[in-house]
Subunit: 303 residues, 2 copies
Amino acid sequence: MKVVCLSGGVGGAKLAAGLHDVLAPGELTVVGNVGDDVEVLGLHVSPDLDSILYALAGLNDEERGWGRAGETWRTLESARDWGGEGWFLLGDLDLGLHLVRTQALGSGEPLSVVTRRLATAAGVASAIVPATDDRLRTHVTTPAGTFSFQEWFVGRRHEDEVDAVSFAGADEASPAPGVLDAIHVADAIVLAPSNPYVSIGPILAVEPIREALAARKAPCVAVSPLIGGRAVKGPLDRMLTRMAGGTTPAHVADRYPGLIDALVVDVADAPAEAAVPLVVTETLMTERTHARRLAERVLGAAT
Amino acid sequence: MKVVCLSGGVGGAKLAAGLHDVLAPGELTVVGNVGDDVEVLGLHVSPDLDSILYALAGLNDEERGWGRAGETWRTLESARDWGGEGWFLLGDLDLGLHLVRTQALGSGEPLSVVTRRLATAAGVASAIVPATDDRLRTHVTTPAGTFSFQEWFVGRRHEDEVDAVSFAGADEASPAPGVLDAIHVADAIVLAPSNPYVSIGPILAVEPIREALAARKAPCVAVSPLIGGRAVKGPLDRMLTRMAGGTTPAHVADRYPGLIDALVVDVADAPAEAAVPLVVTETLMTERTHARRLAERVLGAAT
């Protein structure tokens, strides 16, 4: 069974890891958001690709919720002492990956090729593919001005309300090699429980990816990132309220017009009605076993 | 009393630290070798400038003899796990500096400006200046072929005998801002106990620096890096034997024809004769107090 999963950061990565666990090696392709990629201390950081890689490889820190387990911060502290920027937290273990990727990109290797090498180095049999090898950056427009994603999310702690989201470079961006093929051959397509605006949105902003989804032959199931109308983490509930008028399953489903065949929602959000059939289950993934159970449920809904 | 000291790596940095200690703030300018600069994991590493900075700031590891005290290796180990190059040892604290410098160089800042900022960040009042802001790289020709300095020194553990040393880029290299001024106003010039071929040689390969030394008004004193005809560390004794025919004080002094007015040698190398007067003292610097004592002796010989 071939499955493709579009994922943003931590929440999406959890479900991706669940799918990785319940599928056979090579059956899963995870397409990762690159709209929140950022250059820090001269290094190219792909936070969402890394969240996916760390989760699938079992290297992620489940307690902190992001980054690597057993992380330390010596290099960043030293960089700060030397006058370097310290606003974006990069751990020592994490930095090892950023160094290798930045060096590879600097030598001309496409992001998708580096990402494949990294997954191989970690022994991950699922495919992890960036939405695009081209430069695509998410910007948010707020009452305080327009900011790059990380400037708003980390630098300003996503405190500003969001009026609009845009994707610089999306018009010129091509899908990375493997993305369209994975969608075409998939038996099921999953939109992970990630923020539709700033996590899944940048992937769908690559027009050929959106078109491939719209023309899909396989069922596409989205998983709502809300529980009881609230974001498990992050600013999605505030964004939905302000930009869409509410946080019900219908408001989530309407982010994906014509692109999904069902929406998986938490028991706390049922009963409800939406433009597509709802599948009700427990969606909170505090442990990897929960992620596997949700993955099974999602795959069940897609067949 | 204005003093300028030309220095290579660890041994030279020890004397530079001694001079730093015994001179008043702002009196010392250390001109550092950049011929063994190297790109590792995409980062610009200036090992000799760093040895000088760490020694003057008291951050150096005296026991290991190089790098920073209290160093750890988490980031490098992670980079290796991700398939990154691991031949050149970069500690976590060390990497913090390399990240800041590489980012600054990437944004167009000259090496001398970055170096000044780093020294300021460490509270070092002495000036540390690279010989040149231009790209200058030391290569060694051996029976096994020609190698870049670090490829030979670290990668091949400097086991190959050296037949010749060359400096790529030296013909086009200009002295970094401050170098010639420091030499012109100096009351004393010191050539640190560094390898004349691969540590002081690359500095003198910048022709205007050599010319300024040749036309000096202040006395110039070199300190022999040999003790009893043997290198304290490194391959200098083998290099001198092969390329100059011996390891006496005369062989060392002859590396600096017309450039020095005296040579400080260890008691183990006396009595001896050379083209310049010899000053005999204990030159081994196992502790910083030794470095201060040698610095006093060297300054005494230069006045």
